[in-house]
Amino acid sequence: MTYTLVQLSYLLATALFIFSLHWMSDPKTARRGVYSGVAGMTVGILATWAQPAFIVHNGWIFLALLLGAAVGWPLSRVPLTAVPQRTALSHAFGGLAAGLVGTAKYYLWYSEGPENLTAFRMVAIIAEIVLGYLTFTGSLMAAGKLQELKWVPQRPVTYRGQNVINLGLLLLAVGLGAFLVVDPTADMAPKLFPVIIALSLVFGVLLIIPIGGADMPTVISILNSYAGLSAVAMGFVLDNKLLITAGALDGSSGLILSIIMCRAMNRSFTNVLFGAFGQVQAAAAQGEQKSYKAETVEGAAQVLEQSSLVVIVPGYGLAVAQAQHKVREVYDQLKSRGITVKFAIHPVAGRMPGHMNVLLAEAEIPYTDLVEMDEINSEMPQCDVALVIGANDVVNPAARADKSSPIYGMPIIDADKARTVFAIKRSKNPGFAGIDNELYFGDRTWMLFGDAKAVVGELAKQLSGGSGMH
C-alpha cells in the first residue's frame, strides 16, 4: 500500500470509530456501534500490515496477534460482577503497550537515527512512557483491589507525607524527562530512561493504594482517560493520526465519565486522588448507639403486596451477593400484581460507571425500568416502598443535611422520602466508608438483616406463596 492509501484507510477507520461511539447514544443502536468499531479496527490493522516493503517480520506479528486473541477471549467471558476488574486490567494492557512502544522507539532512534530525537518527539516520548507505565501499574493495583486479592490492601493505605512523596516522585520523573528532552543523546541518557520508567511504575502503585473501593468508579474513569492519552502521545511519537484520533476519543470518554462520577460524589479530581477517603470517617463512626427496627421477611412481603409504586435502590452489596437474579424474581412477582416497580440507579452505585445497569440487564430486567437518580427523586414522595438492597452511602440523608458528614453535598437518592423503607443489610456495621446512615434509624425504616441474595430470595418465595391467596 502506498503512503496515501494507508492514510486514507486511517481516515476511514477514524470515521468508523466516531460512528461507533455515536451509535452508543441509544441501547437500540448500540450493537451497531460494536460492529462499526470492529470494522474500523480491521481496516486500521490491515492497512498498517499490508506494507510488504516495510513490514517484513510477519511471523512475529501473527504470533503476537494469536497469543493476544487467546488471552483476550477468556477475558471477555468473565462474570459481569467482575467487569470492573477486567476493565482495569485492559487499561493496564493499554498503558503497557504505549509504554513499550515508546521505549522501543527511543532506543531504536538512539542507536540508529539520533536526528529523529527532536525536542517535540522527546516530549511526546516522555509523556507516552510516564502515562503508559503509571497507567499500567496503577490499573493493575486497581484491578487487584477490585478482585480483592489477598496481597493487595483493600482499605486505603495512608501515611504521613504521602502526597509529598507521590508528587515528588512524579516531579523527579518529569524533571529527568526534561533533561532528556534537552539532551536526548547524552551518554547517560540510555541509563536515565529506565529510571524514568521505574519512577513511573512506582508512582502508579503509590497513586492507587490510598484510594478506597467507594472511589473506584472515578479512579477507573481517570485511568481510562490516561490510557487514551498515552495512545495520543504514541500517535505524536509515530506521526500517526489514527492513533491520535482514537486515543483522543478514549481520553475524552474517560474525562467525561470522571466528571460525571466526581459530580455524583460532590468531589473534585484532586480530592479523589489525594484526599485519602476513609481515614476521617473511621473516627466519625464512633457515635452513640441508636436502635434499628428489624422486620421479618413475611412482614415486608405483606407491605410490598399492598403498594402501588415500589422503588428498588441497588448498590454494590447486590453485586457482591450476586442477588440480581433473585431481585428479578421479586420484580416479576410484584409486576404480576400490577404494581409499578422501578430501579433507582445512582451514578456511582457499584464499582464502575453504569455497573448496576449491566447487572440488572443481565437478569433480564427491561432497561426501561432502570431510572436515573435525578428522574426518580421527584417520584420518591409518591413511592409506597423503597427497597434498599446493598446500597448505603448513596441513600444516606446526611449528605443532604449534616454539614459535618464527609459525604455532605453528595447528591443522593431520596429513599427516606418514601412512605416505607426496607433496607437489606448484611450486618449492623456501618458501610464501606464507615459512615453511620441516618436512614436506617428513620421512623419509617425497617431493616432486613442478612445476605442480600438470601433475603431477596426469601422475599420472592413469600410473594409467590402468597399470590395464591388473592
Binding site: 450493537r31 468499531g37 498498517t48 522501543a104 525536542a119 487514551g228 445497569n357
Partner: protein
C-alpha cells in the same frame, strides 16, 4: 442534564497547555535546526495538534450523548478502540529492526490484541442483555 461548561473548561485548559508546550518545543527546534539539517523529518506538528484538538471536541460531543445506561459498555468499547495502539506496535514489530526492539513491539502487540478481542466481545455480550421487555423482542438489534 449535563452542563458543557466544566468539561469544556478542562479541555480548553489542557489543550492550551499542550499547544504552549508544543510551541516551545517547536521554537527550540527551529533555533537548534538553524544550520538547516532539520529537514530530515518533515513532521507536520501543527496538523497533528489540529487533529488532536478536533477529535477531542468530537469525542466530548459524542460521548456526552451516550445513554447513562450504557456507561459500562461504553468504557469497554472505547477501551477496545484505543487498542488501535496495535498499529503502533505493528510498526515497531514488523520492520527490520534489531530483535530486542521488535521484542518490545511484540509484547505491546500482544497487550493491544488482548484488549481488542476482549473489549469488543464483552461489549457485545453486555449490549445483548439490554432488552425493553421481558422475554419479548430485543430492544437491542443490529
Amino acid at each position: 442534564m449535563f452542563r458543557l461548561a466544566l468539561p469544556l473548561r478542562g479541555a480548553v485548559a489542557s489543550l492550551a497547555a499542550l499547544v504552549l508546550a508544543a510551541s516551545l518545543a517547536v521554537a527550540s527546534e527551529d533555533a537548534a535546526a538553524g544550520g538547516g539539517h532539520g529537514a530530515t523529518q518533515a513532521l507536520d506538528l501543527p496538523s497533528m495538534l489540529f487533529v488532536f484538538m478536533l477529535s477531542t471536541f468530537i469525542g466530548i460531543g459524542v460521548i456526552r450523548r451516550v445513554s447513562r445506561l450504557l456507561h459500562t459498555p461504553l468504557m469497554s468499547l472505547t477501551n477496545a478502540i484505543s487498542a488501535i495502539a496495535v498499529v503502533g506496535a505493528i510498526l515497531v514489530t514488523g520492520p527490520d529492526y534489531p530483535p530486542h526492539i521488535r521484542f518490545l513491539g511484540a509484547v505491546a502487540l500482544f497487550a493491544s490484541m488482548t484488549n481488542i478481542v476482549s473489549g469488543f466481545l464483552i461489549t457485545n455480550r453486555m449490549l445483548k442483555m439490554f432488552k425493553t421487555r421481558e422475554g419479548g423482542e430485543k430492544g437491542v438489534q443490529k
